[in-house]
């Protein structure tokens, strides 16, 4: 191969960094974040298996099964701190698990830093919205919001 004046084949490591920035390796910093995110994915996955299938079993199989699900059923469940905690855990873990998965996909597929930050911004906003609203609903849920409610707990 004849070395031409334009291309310096013996320029060493810096030749790449100056010419083709896309290929330059830039240190993105240390820290255990990726390790914990990896562990979280596995741990939340296992927990979600229990939570989701427990949820499905209780809602669809126990008692009257799927036919027993109505407003009163949900109201009854959410009057108990146990189910409030269960549902909140399920909401948070599922949302964060999904958030982390999509974050990974964005990291893997976006090429430009700008696109990456925009997509991640949207993702964070949507995850926060779902978690905050969901948690708010679980804990501020009032079965008697409707004045004409016929539920027994609302009888005064």
């Amino acid at each position: 191969m004849s070395a031409t004046t334009e291309t310096n084949y013996h320029a060493g490591p810096d030749a790449v960094s100056k010419k083709k920035s896309r290929y330059r390796r830039v240190s993105k910093g240390r820290g255990n974040f990726e390790l914990w995110s990896w562990v979280f994915m596995r741990a939340s996955g296992v927990l979600l298996l229990v939570l989701v299938f427990g949820h499905l079993f209780v809602n669809l199989m126990l008692g009257e099964g799927i036919h027993g699900i109505d407003f009163a059923f949900v109201a009854g469940k959410w009057s108990s701190p146990f189910w409030q905690t269960w549902d909140m855990l399920m909401l948070w873990l599922a949302e964060l698990h999904g958030f982390n998965g999509v974050r990974t996909i964005i990291n893997d597929y976006t090429e430009k830093d700008r696109t990456r930050w925009i997509l991640k911004g949207l993702l964070v906003a949507s995850a926060l919205l779902v978690m905050v609203l969901g948690t708010l609903v679980i804990f501020t849920f009032d079965p008697c919001l409707d004045p004409s409610s016929t539920l027994s707990v609302c009888a005064r």
């Binding site: 191969m1 031409t4 334009e6 291309t7 084949y9 060493g12 490591p13 030749a15 790449v16 083709k20 896309r22 290929y23 330059r24 390796r25 830039v26 240190s27 993105k28 910093g29 240390r30 820290g31 255990n32 974040f33 990726e34 390790l35 995110s37 990896w38 562990v39 990291n107 893997d108 597929y109 976006t110 090429e111």
Partner: protein, 258 residues
């Protein structure tokens, strides 16, 4: 080289093959060409080559370069699968051209030959390997020891040697790293080859730099970016279980924490 002598033979006596002669056939090679001085992007060029069943893709490339088009550029040194210079994308899979028999990659259809992906193409099948070696250098691929040097050699049991035997086989051809979709994206991921070479020292009982190397691979662009797609294991011409090595580094990181 014997291959050259064979080729002159074969073009001469192609019409009347003698008994015991390896049968020859015509094969089409579709090669990705790029000349940085005239081209703005890569394009395909097709060549017809007469090959034997014993010929490798590298022999076909030689034939093209020597007899048809001298401007074709590719790397090769030992031509016997040891130096790791001629990794290229043959029919969409990363292989060493010197270890791939033409008859094994379906010569009935045109065989595509491209440079390995994810590294800047310099000319034709030659890529700039510097980003690849940058990642390799970062994992400190050399023996790091503490304390006094022993008066004689550093003794190691057979079992300790076997622990990292698989990853000593790496020839740094970049077939694994450039088959990794995560590496293709932005080239920031350390890549399988760098992790394999870190593994070779992390699990070496004579080495004391394991903790440092693990910390390096705990980086945002380190082992946690591995999606276990097994492209690297499939691509490795030395048969290294690359994905397994990466997982072992992950496990070592986890066990050092918990």
């Amino acid at each position: 080289m014997t291959a050259t002598a064979e080729k002159t033979d074969q073009t001469g006596g192609q019409d009347s093959p003698k008994a015991g002669v390896v049968p020859s056939f015509t094969v089409t090679l579709k090669i990705s060409r790029f000349d940085p001085e005239t081209d703005s992007e890569q394009h395909w060029e097709t060549y017809e080559v007469t090959a034997h069943a014993t010929d490798r893709v590298l022999d076909a490339l030689h034939q093209i370069k020597w007899d048809q088009d001298g401007s074709l550029s590719f790397r090769r040194s030992c031509a016997h699968g040891v130096c790791g210079s001629d990794a290229m994308r043959i029919n969409g899979k990363n292989r060493l051209a010197c270890k791939t028999l033409i008859k094994d990659v379906n010569p009935d259809k045109p065989i595509t030959v491209e440079p390995i992906k994810g590294l800047p193409v310099e000319k034709d099948l030659i890529v700039d390997m510097e980003p690849f070696f940058d990642a390799y250098r970062e994992v400190m691929p050399f023996l790091i020891t503490e304390g006094n040097e022993p008066t004689r050699e550093r003794i190691q049991s057979q079992a300790d040697r076997d622990r990292f035997d698989d990853t000593t086989k790496c020839i740094l051809c970049a077939a694994c790293t450039t088959s990794c979709p995560v590496f293709w994206n932005d080239g920031q991921y350390f890549g399988p080859a760098a992790i394999v070479n870190a593994h070779r020292f992390i699990f070496d009982s004579r080495d004391d730099g394991g903790t440092q190397r693990l910390e390096i691979l705990n980086d945002k662009e380190g082992v946690w970016r591995c999606r276990t797609t097994f492209n690297c294991t499939d691509a490795c011409p030395r048969g290294i279980e690359v994905t397994k090595a990466i997982q072992e580094v992950k496990r070592a990181l986890l066990t050092s924490r918990f």
